[in-house]
Every structure is written in structure tokens, then in C-alpha cells.
């Protein structure tokens, strides 16, 4: 926990530095008609740096053997995370509906070990329902791929 705390605070401290750097670049003083664009971000960044430095100080003084995440906890988290990333990557080429079908089916089979029938049913019906609700009912278009093009949607 302590290491994670130190790392997070350091990263945020760097973020504060970047913000201040950018703000100084566009001007932090008084322009022709009020404060310049960098005025507000500059002080936000400065405060962020100060707060993170204090957090770093707190964390460094603390003794804490509890790990941020245990190995057996990290497994399930990654098992949710990487398929979700795969879903986004697939959406780029296949469109959202096909990717959602593949992703749902894969996850059900891999984690839940559901029967192929159940996998097939959910993986087809769920994206189909999403399609009708969003695309047809609320007229919100989702990214589409070759399948939808082939079907003439």
C-alpha cells in the first residue's frame, strides 16, 4: 500500500508540474481583459504539487506492510481488464455489436464455463437488443464494421 501510495502521489506531482509548465507557457498574469488562460491552471497545479508533496511525506513516514493488491486478487482484476481492452481494440475494426458478441461469448465461456447453447444465446441476443434500443429506438449510432455493412445497415 505504501509503495502504491508513493508512486501515485509522485505521478500526480509530475502531473502538477506539467500543468504548471503549460500554464506558464500561455501566461499566468493579467491580460488585456482579465486573468490570462494560464492563471487558474497555474494555481491548481501549484496546489496539486504542494498537496502531493505532503502526501509523499506522510506515506514515507508510515510503516505499512499491507500490499496494494495480493496476487490472487490481481488475477480476477486482470481477467476483467484485458478482455475489456480487447473489446475496445476489436470495436475499431469490427464495430461495437460484433465485438460485444465476441467479448460476451468469450467471457461467459472462459470465466463462467457456461454451455455453448447459453453462450450463443446471450452473445447473439444481447448485442441484438442493444442494437434495437440504441440504433433504432433512441437513434444513437454506434461504431459499425464489415458485418453491418454487409447487412446493409
Amino acid at each position: 500500500m505504501r509503495v502504491a501510495d508513493l508512486v501515485t502521489a509522485s505521478v500526480l506531482l509530475l502531473v502538477g508540474g506539467v500543468v504548471v509548465f503549460d500554464a506558464v507557457g500561455i501566461g499566468i498574469g493579467w491580460g488585456t481583459d482579465g486573468p490570462k488562460s494560464g492563471f487558474f491552471p497555474f494555481w491548481l497545479g501549484m496546489l496539486l504539487i504542494a498537496a502531493c508533496a505532503l502526501i509523499l511525506g506522510q506515506a514515507a513516514r508510515r510503516v505499512d506492510a499491507k500490499p496494494f493488491v495480493r496476487r490472487e486478487q490481481l488475477g480476477p482484476v486482470l481477467k476483467v481488464l484485458w478482455p475489456a481492452v480487447a473489446l475496445v481494440v476489436l470495436t475499431l475494426s469490427l464495430g461495437l455489436y460484433v465485438s460485444a458478441a465476441l467479448y460476451t461469448g468469450f467471457y461467459m465461456r472462459w470465466i463462467g464455463r457456461h454451455s455453448w447453447l447459453a453462450v450463443l444465446a446471450v452473445a447473439v441476443l444481447f448485442p441484438l437488443a442493444t442494437f434495437f434500443i440504441f440504433e433504432k429506438w433512441f437513434l444513437v449510432p454506434m461504431p459499425k464494421g464489415p458485418l453491418e455493412a454487409w447487412l446493409g445497415q
Binding site: 500500500m1 502504491a4 500554464a23 500561455i26 482579465g34 486573468p35 461495437l96 467479448y103 463462467g112 444481447f126
Partner: protein
């Protein structure tokens, strides 16, 4: 004049279309509240893009109904499954689950829903009377006053939020920084884009909410190794009527819970501490404090009344001042801006049909809500019997769809994943997420208020203390900011050892 306006509101709220919208909202909200991965704020954010084409009044009725539903739904999971579906229903598990284990689940659920309804009604009545008054006062506010109120909002997260005040501060600053990324509409200058075209549009709060609360929450719940082992509902009309006969005994708890809820709720930080405080008070004043935690009905009544009263009260500052009291209210405020409404006291003058339609719909929504959950509890509880391996991908896909729908932009789905990981890390390290979201929504408004104030004063910060109203508010805000430093010092002065405050939840 108040009654007339309310009647006007009811005319709008009870049109068949708006009633239908309320029923849909409550159904979806209850489902969202039951599912541990999805919360009120997140559900409202996912649904927001679907309301862009709706009339604003119906849109806000849909979203608020969803919020009521989520408040009701949280109680179901806490009582039957011992899993708090929402942070403010943690206290409900203390006595709700033991009751359900003893076969009194129906009793506990009836008590929970009825208490929620009573708490909500109390807050709605207060809103009906206070909102116009508060809006009237707020009409006289200028930019310095608004900035002072913003300061007060965020100072209360730091000073009263519990947890590490520095981390609350970091969350707030990060929210404001994210809000500042992109085009500065006042000067037309690009900020913090570093040459990336995608960053020009900035970060949308909807995507942030979906990522932080949706994806982050799923990651957290799989880490804890969720398994749903539910108790049967045992709900029927007899149980409901019998429970209603007992409930008047807890009249004091109802009143106390309502007041605590309203008081905590209209300031930010709201529902969760209110529910714990109400539970603690009920236990302290009970004649049988030893029964608490083992299945005392009063232990369900107290937190539920307060949580719902607080949840409703969070709408008061959102409506009258344009400053949300909770992340969910913050998302709704963002919705208002997207629908082309200017949040703040002028709303009462310029769009009375919107404001009063919304207030009237709080009455109708909660009546419909309590009847629906009482009637359909077994159905809603059945949702949790859906295997986890199906729920997870479905929730992730729904979150992705919601993020994409905001701007029809792929980058937003990536942001959602990143915000999800950030939410997971922040939650584990005790960085509160609610102030981050509030700051992200309010960022531009706060900066404009600050700028205009400084222009009025030719750059002198003295303007915030020189004007009487903003001076008083600023003073309280500074006190709140200083509270974490003052409290240990004060304790030492009185010879009381400094104690760690209980951990906070979003």
C-alpha cells in the same frame, strides 16, 4: 404562489408520457441499484446521451426517477444478499441481513422501502417550500458569491468528508485540471493539449463518471471475489400490511433520520455519512441498543430514512444554486447544460415549467417507486441470480456504449478504460471520487465565476471577503479547509487523544 406553481408542475408530471418515463426510469434505476457494479451516478451518466432528443422536462424526470430507483434498489441487495449495492446502504446491511436470515426479509424490505419513502417525502416537502426562497436569495448573487459557494462546496469535502483531507484536496484539484484541458472559451486559447488534436475537446464528465464509478467499481468487486448468496424475499401483502402496523412505533427514528438526511444531504458529501449517523443515533437512543446488529427493525428504518432524505436533498442546491450536492446531482447538472438550460436561480424565473415539473415528479416518482418495489421485489432480486460471468461483460458493454454515445468518438471509450483503472487505484488508496467528479462538472463555471470576480475587482482577491454574503460564505469555507488542521490541535488542547476518523465512501 407556491401551491399554484406546484399544481402547474403536477399538470406536467402526470401526463401519460411523463408517467411512463418515470416508470421506465424507476425500473432501470432499481436494476442499476441492485447491481453492485452500477450506481446512481453511473446509470444517469449512461442514460444521459439518450435524453438529448427528449424534451428537457421529460429528460430530467427520466434521470431523477432512475435516481429514486437506484436509491430503492440498493436496499434490496443489502437486505437479501448482504452486499451493499450502494455505499449509503452499507448501514442497512447491519440489521437488514440478519432479519432476512431469520426469515423476516419481507418485513425488513417493507420497512426499508417505507422508510426510504418517508425520508424522501420529507425532503421533497422541504424542497417545495425552500427552493423558491433560496432561488430568490440566490438571484441577488454575483460572481463572487457563486465562487464563494463553490469554495464552500469543496471545502466541505476536505473538512467534513472524513478520510485524508489532502487526498480530498488532490481529487478536487485533479477534477478542475481535467476540466480545464482543451479550448478556453473565454480567451480562445488551447490549454494542456500539447499538440494532440484529441485533447482539444477536453474530458467529458459523463465518460469520467462511467469509467470511475462503472469500470472502477467492477474491478473492485471482482477483486473482492463476489459471490451472491441470497436469502428468499418472503414478501407478500400480509407481511407488508403487518409491517406497516408496527412502523409507527419508530416515529421518532423517522423524524430524526429525515432531519439528519436533509441536513447532510443538501451539503455535498451526503447520503452515506447521513445513513451511518442516523443508525448511530437510533442505536444510542434505543431502549435495546444490544439488539442492534442482530436484526432490529429500527436498524433498517434509521439508515434508509436518512439515505433517501439526503439523496433527495442533494437536488436542492443543484436546482437553486446550480451547485450539485452529490455526484449523481452533478451528472444531472451537466445534463441541464447539455439540454440548453442555464442551471441556477434564474431557472425558477425562466423555466418554471421545468423546475416545477421536476419537483412535482419527485412526489409522483417516489409514490410510483415505492409501490413498484414493494410489488416486484422478487423480480428485482432475481437479477442477482444471473451468473457473474454474464453480468460483467454486459455491464462493460453498456458502459462502453454509454461512453461512445456522448460524442460518437472512439477516444471516449479509451478514456473510459483509463478512468476505470484510475478509479480502481484511487478507491484503493482512499482518494475520494465524488469531489473529482463535482470539480470536473463545475470546473468551467467555477473558473468563470473567479475570472469575473477578479475583473470586477481589478485583480484583487479582497473582493471575496469585502462583500457581506460572499465574505461570510468564504469565511465558513476557509474554516472547513482549516478544520483538519484545527481538530487535532483542539483535541490536544482539551486533553483528548486524536482519533482517526472513520473511512469515507463515495
Amino acid at each position: 404562489m407556491g401551491i399554484e406553481n406546484l399544481l402547474l408542475g403536477f399538470h406536467i408530471a402526470i401526463t401519460p408520457y411523463n408517467l411512463f418515463v418515470a416508470v421506465i426510469g424507476i425500473t432501470l434505476g432499481t436494476i442499476i441499484g441492485v447491481l453492485p457494479g452500477l450506481g446512481g451516478a453511473n446509470g444517469v451518466a449512461i442514460l444521459l446521451p439518450l435524453t438529448f432528443t427528449m424534451p428537457p422536462t421529460s429528460a430530467i424526470i427520466l434521470l431523477t426517477s432512475l435516481y429514486w430507483g437506484a436509491l430503492f434498489g440498493g436496499a434490496i441487495t443489502s437486505i437479501l444478499f448482504n452486499i451493499p449495492g450502494e455505499p449509503w446502504s452499507v448501514a442497512t446491511t447491519f440489521d437488514g441481513y440478519p432479519l432476512a436470515r431469520q426469515g423476516k426479509g419481507g418485513q425488513a424490505l417493507t420497512a426499508a422501502f417505507t422508510s426510504s419513502f418517508v425520508g424522501a417525502l420529507f425532503s421533497i416537502v422541504l424542497i417545495t417550500f425552500f427552493a423558491p426562497l433560496l432561488a430568490e436569495i440566490a438571484l441577488k448573487f454575483g460572481p463572487p458569491e457563486f465562487f464563494a459557494i463553490q469554495l464552500l462546496t469543496f471545502s466541505s469535502f476536505v473538512g467534513l468528508g472524513g478520510g485524508n483531507p489532502l487526498k480530498s484536496l488532490v481529487s478536487i484539484l485533479l477534477g478542475f485540471i481535467l476540466a480545464a484541458v482543451g479550448l478556453d472559451i473565454v480567451t480562445g486559447q488551447l490549454r494542456m493539449t500539447f499538440g494532440f488534436v484529441d485533447l482539444m475537446k477536453g474530458f467529458d464528465f459523463i465518460v469520467a463518471v462511467i469509467g470511475l464509478f462503472g469500470i472502477g467499481e467492477i474491478l473492485l468487486s471482482v477483486e473482492e471475489g463476489l459471490s451472491f448468496k441470497g436469502v428468499r424475499t418472503g414478501m407478500n401483502l400480509r407481511v407488508v400490511l403487518d409491517t406497516w402496523r408496527i412502523l409507527p412505533r419508530y416515529a421518532r427514528t423517522f423524524v430524526r433520520g429525515s432531519f439528519i438526511g436533509f441536513w447532510m444531504g443538501f451539503k455535498p458529501g451526503g447520503a452515506t455519512p447521513a445513513s451511518f449517523m442516523s443508525y448511530a443515533f437510533a442505536k444510542r437512543f434505543s431502549r435495546h441498543p444490544e439488539r442492534f446488529g442482530k436484526g432490529e427493525l429500527e436498524g433498517v428504518v434509521a439508515p434508509e430514512t436518512a439515505a433517501h432524505a439526503a439523496g433527495v436533498a442533494a437536488m436542492l442546491p443543484m436546482l437553486t444554486l446550480g451547485i450539485p450536492g452529490s455526484p449523481t446531482a452533478a451528472v444531472m447538472l451537466g445534463g441541464l447544460i447539455i439540454w440548453g438550460l442555464q442551471p441556477g436561480p434564474l431557472l425558477f424565473k425562466e423555466k418554471p415549467e421545468f423546475v416545477w415539473g421536476l419537483i412535482a415528479s419527485m412526489y409522483t416518482g417516489n409514490v410510483i417507486g415505492v409501490l413498484m418495489v414493494l410489488a416486484f421485489v422478487p423480480l428485482f432480486a432475481a437479477i442477482l441470480r444471473i451468473p457473474f460471468a454474464i453480468l460483467t461483460p454486459v455491464i462493460v458493454v453498456v458502459c462502453a456504449v454509454g461512453s461512445y454515445a456522448v460524442h460518437n468518438n472512439m477516444i471516449d471509450i479509451w478514456y473510459m478504460v483509463i478512468f476505470g483503472v484510475v478509479g480502481y487505484v484511487f478507491k484503493k488508496l482512499d482518494y475520494p471520487l465524488a469531489p473529482l467528479v463535482l470539480a470536473l462538472v463545475l470546473g468551467d463555471l467555477a473558473e468563470n465565476a473567479l475570472r469575473q470576480s477578479l475583473i470586477m475587482s481589478q485583480g484583487s482577491l479582497a473582493i471575496f471577503v469585502a462583500r457581506p454574503i460572499s465574505g461570510a460564505i468564504t469565511a465558513v469555507a476557509i474554516l472547513f479547509f482549516a478544520l483538519p488542521v484545527l481538530t487535532p490541535w483542539w483535541r490536544r488542547l482539551r486533553g483528548v487523544p486524536a482519533v482517526r476518523r472513520p473511512a469515507r465512501e463515495v
